[in-house]
Amino acid sequence: MTLDARTTAGAARSEDSLAVSENPETRISFWRVMVERYAILLGFLVICAILAILCPSFLSVANILNVLRQVSITGIMAVGATFVILTGGIDLSVGSVLALAGILAAGMQVVHQAGVFISVLVPLVVTGALGIVVGLVITKCRVAPFIVTLGVMSVARGATLVYSNGYPISGLTREFRFIGGGLIGQIPIPVIIYALVAIAGSIVLSQTRFGRHVYAIGGNQEAARLSGVLVEKTKVIVYGISSLTAGLAGVILASRLNSGEPVAGIGQELDVIASVVIGGTSLMGGEGGVFGTVVGSLLIGVLNNGLNLLNVSSFYQQIVKGLIIVAAVIFDQLRRRR
């Protein structure tokens, strides 16, 4: 074969592979992406199917709405936590922030006799601002998110106890209780709020510049910075979002319980992080999304509910939940290795 002939053959080959790449190869990767992305969903559906067979009441409309309502509080927090974890950070303070928001909302209602609007606004402003402070400490003072949010977890819990003297604040107005307890049609309002938060979170992450910056920072902070991403600003906003969703969840919870509970949400940060991780978002950052988180939250909720319906002791439920978290991460590792 002469050199020329080889050259043309080579050129033809490379053109070929380019032309081909437009079609079948993208399709292969498309299917692979589908399988990878929706494996969690598949697992979720399998669990639902098993529960439905074992326990026919599982699929009743009343039970499904019940599960959704139970999931909504953790689910809303998990949407915010997804942002943080995508940047490679962590927010341990969300359980305490939830309690702080709840007690503030109840305080506004009972102590200050405030209307619904103020009772919702004040906790949201306070928790949002708290998140921004957390973000500023993390970025400006360069303290690890784990440490800062661990500190804030304690600070927010303490503030809650100080504000309430350690007692629940009960006796909220009917209008305010509508937020957590009301229905639109048959659907509980917390579920509607959850859906709206999840959709908004998903759109922000996938469609906006800010969302792309979140992924870029989690993937490679230095490369993102050199590409002109304002890393610090983005991170501050991200912690603000996480704290704000925890605050929102706290307001809903107080409304539903007709009481601000100073001990609400203890240990809940772990359920929140578990939802995100089971949903396939990498703790290293840069990969994952809100869709997975929603499925992760639902999976935990369905498991709890199903095991309840099957009269399995809640002690066993803890074991099952723990195993599923570890299994999800193992699966994630295997997927990554390919």
């Binding site: 080579g10 800010f210 870029a216 590409s227 002109g228 304002l230």
Partner: protein, 499 residues
Amino acid sequence: MGESGAFLVMKNISKTFPGVKALDGVTFEVQKGEVHALVGENGAGKSTLIKILSGAYRPDGGEILLRGQRVEINTPGQAQQLGISVIYQELDLIPHMTIPENIFVGREPARALGLVDWREMGKKAQALMASVGMNLPLNIPVRKLSAAQQQMVAIARALSLNADIIVMDEPTASLTQNEIQILFRVIEKLKASGVTIIYISHRLEEIFQIADRVTVLRDGKYIGTWPVGEVGVDHIIRCMVGRDLKEKYPRERVPRGEEILRVEGLTHEPYFRDVSFSLHAGEILGIAGLVGAGRSEIMRSIVGADEKDSGEVYLFGKKVDIKSPHDAIRLGIGLLPEERKLQGLILQLDVRSNISLPILDRLSRWGFIRRLLEYRAVVDIIDRLGIKTPSPEQKVKNLSGGNQQKVVFAKWFLRGCRVFIFDEPTRGIDVGAKLEIYKLMNELVRDGVGIIVISSDLPEVLGISDRLLVMHHGRIAGELRHEEATQEKVLNLAFGGVA
């Protein structure tokens, strides 16, 4: 072909990745005790072949014969047991550990109760380092060693594993001229003691200096093997690219325009001090100097990636205050960083997101990305730069090195800056891709852009620059025009002499 006599034979090796046939029936033979160079453009299949030899990948077809025996290499551990050691371009040393710890990591000599026998370990390490001609303090972390010294540690480790085949992947990419000579002496020594070396490099001059035979791969196919004495560089290049390369450095003269960028008295201790220079439209300004002379650091300070102690930056005669790369990009200064994997790319994101990252502000309205606009821009630049990727949705980590570098370029070409700073733009990429990059630079200066190029490849900076600044120990040691610059003058300045 004397198959019986060959020490190592990789026979009819094939390997397919999604979308790419990386190796297509390649046969590769190595004789005992030779230095065998393996060359080819990026994506030719060299890395894949080596990864199969080292057990990192499993071939789809073919077999490996070692000393005439068929062997299975399914894990890096098996490769080590067979005496095959690979020294990768990105050295896999543990930066905060010492030389002995690195050499014996996972195989520390133990005393009773499993305690590490530090003295024994130190002694062995010293002997190994001596065998590669290095006498270094053993108790300092390897990150404090120079690139060349770190390389020697990696070689010492390979020797401690009783390797009789050592594969070196681009060993000179981050070495200075002097360090390269040290490495070559070590290679000669290893060869004399019967070690077989497979040497991968893009620097063909080196191959002619050090190798006995050379094998060329192209597009995943075996092209040929020759003793280096029997062929010329031209022949090898022709085989690699499949065509003639007329010119190595196609430099175009463009009339020098107005001053774009001026730097005055820039200082950042201890990296560099009192640095002043200017850059004009249509000019390529080369920055030469030894590794560690402060070249990259100056550029990082200019774009706000690092701080500065003092000094001013002027853009079109106006003083500018650049606090972050974000500011620099807004002002039209783009830095293409030195380490593409660490600084240039987000490996687990797709090609599209990587390319569009610096221009998202232009591609979005009300903060929302206009996906169609983004897609068009990205597909267009992929096409223009000839980036080989199955689709814009492919993750960048799945591309070959040269194509990754092109993705970094694509980012900044789309951004369209008035000043481009290229830090080691052609490191680790092949002849053909280099040429394309030079042509792109020419295109840019024709449009009135100013370019600063940092390069450790001396012929390259000499070939492409209109003007050359030589750095020595954090200062500008001298300035040379294209016409007067020679390798000798540059080296003289770089080592602290006068031109």
